[in-house]
């Protein structure tokens, strides 16, 4: 080998191939969190799907989130990951003959579940329907705003996540960031969600909502009692939905969801389908009930009633 050849080997010559490789590597590196990366950002970046976590990993993640949220909101935030209870299948009932359309549930839900105030996100949407037409969703109006409700000739139908037994939303998720738990609650892992919004397109009830911007949640209004799969503060770019107040209902204290507690007319009923003595069981066994969009075979666990 001559001197020239040896020298040529050691000299860096930029070729087209090398340039492209370098560019790709550089752009790839930029995609990593680097700018203000603390240790916790890196941990979140490499976090696994919630269902693949072992207990030590899970506890570590919960502790990390608690620390983050506590710093962010300036108060002690609790992040739970209480699993489903054996022998419980949650069910919901709503009495259309009682509901007066006052929207107390909408704002009770926002307060409990830390939805974004600005931009606005509501998990419950109250439809106003004409009594003459019945449940005719094409003529539903949800921007109604009279001085007093109920109005003559109308009835009201609040719609939220129906917690389907056969949920179309979980099937379309390309990364399995949303699934149905054993107690029937459909949940989202906000750290795994990639924000593609396929689930929103698949949901026939309009029950899923997207964080287009970083949620505007004033620290004073933040509810510090949270669940990992429920009402913990969400990042930008993920989908969220009603979880039957998972942070309340899964605890042994057995609190009712916020919308049930706040309803002034007692139109909302909640309980365990598998408990023969529960009020929800009595209702579906003895009253006339229907489910929304039955023909789609989503099998909601959210029953509408006419108790009269």
């Amino acid at each position: 080998m001559s001197d020239k050849e040896t020298r040529d080997k050691k000299i860096f010559r930029l070729t087209r191939r090398k340039a492209l490789k370098g560019l790709a590597a550089g752009l790839g590196a930029l995609a990593f969190p680097g700018k203000d990366a603390s240790a916790s950002v890196w941990e979140a970046f490499f976090q696994k799907n919630f269902r693949e976590l072992g207990k030590p990993e899970r506890d570590k993640i919960l502790a990390r989130l608690e620390k983050e949220y506590s710093a962010q909101f300036g108060k002690a935030v609790k992040v739970k990951a209480t699993p489903p209870v054996e022998g419980v299948l949650f069910g919901y009932g709503l009495d259309l003959s009682r509901c007066i359309g006052c929207r107390r549930c909408v704002y009770g839900c926002v307060d409990e579940n830390n939805q974004s105030r600005e931009p606005q996100i509501h998990w419950i949407r109250v439809l106003r329907l004409e009594k003459e037409k019945g449940v005719d969703l094409e003529h539903a109006e949800h921007y109604y705003n009279p001085a007093k409700v109920p109005e003559e000739g109308y009835f009201y139908m609040p719609v939220q996540c129906q917690q389907c037994e056969n949920p179309p939303c979980t099937k379309v998720c390309p990364v399995q960031a949303t699934w149905k738990e054993n107690d029937g609650i459909v949940v989202v892992d906000y750290n795994w969600c990639i924000g593609c919004r396929y689930c929103m397109a698949a949901c026939p009830y309009g029950a899923r909502h997207f964080n287009w911007k970083k949620p505007g949640l004033p620290a004073a209004e933040m509810n510090p009692d949270t669940h990992y799969l429920g009402n913990r503060p969400r990042p930008v770019g993920v989908v969220e939905k009603c979880t039957f107040c998972i942070q309340r209902t899964r605890e042994p204290e057995g609190r009712y969801p916020a919308c049930v507690e706040v309803c002034p007319v007692g139109a909302r009923k909640f309980g365990n389908f598998l408990d023969p003595a529960s009020e929800i069981r009595y209702a579906i066994e003895n009253k006339r009930v229907f489910i929304l969009k039955e023909e789609l075979n989503t099998q909601p666990k959210f029953y509408y009633f006419y108790f009269t």
Binding site: V85, E86, G87, V88, D95, I100, G101, C102, R103, R104, V106, Y107, P119, Q120, H122, R125, H142, Y143, Y144, N145, P146, A147, K148, V149, P150, T249, P252, E253, G254, R255, Y256, E261, C263, P264, V265, G266, K269, F270, G271, N272, L274, D275, A277, S278, E279, Y282, A283, K287, F307
Partner: protein, 182 residues
Amino acid sequence: MNSRGMYYLCIVALAATMLCMADAGQAGRREFWSTPPKAESEERYMVPPPPFSEGIFPCSGCHKEMKTNPNRRILKEEHTNIVLKNHAEEERWCLDCHDANNRDKLRLVSGERIDFTEMYRLCGQCHGDKYRDWKVGVHGKRTGQWNGKKEYLLCAHCHNPHSPKFKPIQPKPPPLRPEYIK
């Protein structure tokens, strides 16, 4: 200690142990998610105190000194704000539900006197279907626990007994239209 004393002590200890075990077994059998068995008396419900107007109860505070006039009439001096409206006003008046002799009680058709805290029995005389639904927790608002103790509301917490139709209220603001969500 003699052997007889020892014997009695053993018997007592054994009985106590068995009692404890039976108790623990009873407690263990009920899963925490299932509704606890009904309290000893079916008809007692956990209710908050009745929603009296300020300073009106006990009624005997004023009525004790007054002679009862059992004739049906329109009240001119007192309680003029209480008017039966859409609640069988043609058929009934005060003393059909309020006991004439003990003003702090309500009166059933049977003549039985009941406390205001049991007013659901009075209302249930006519509204039997509502009473039945209320008892199982399907009519009216209940608070408490979905898997345990529930607190009921009395009829009068939601319905004015003299004019029971639910009064319209102001709704909370509607959601923003998408074009205004920035």
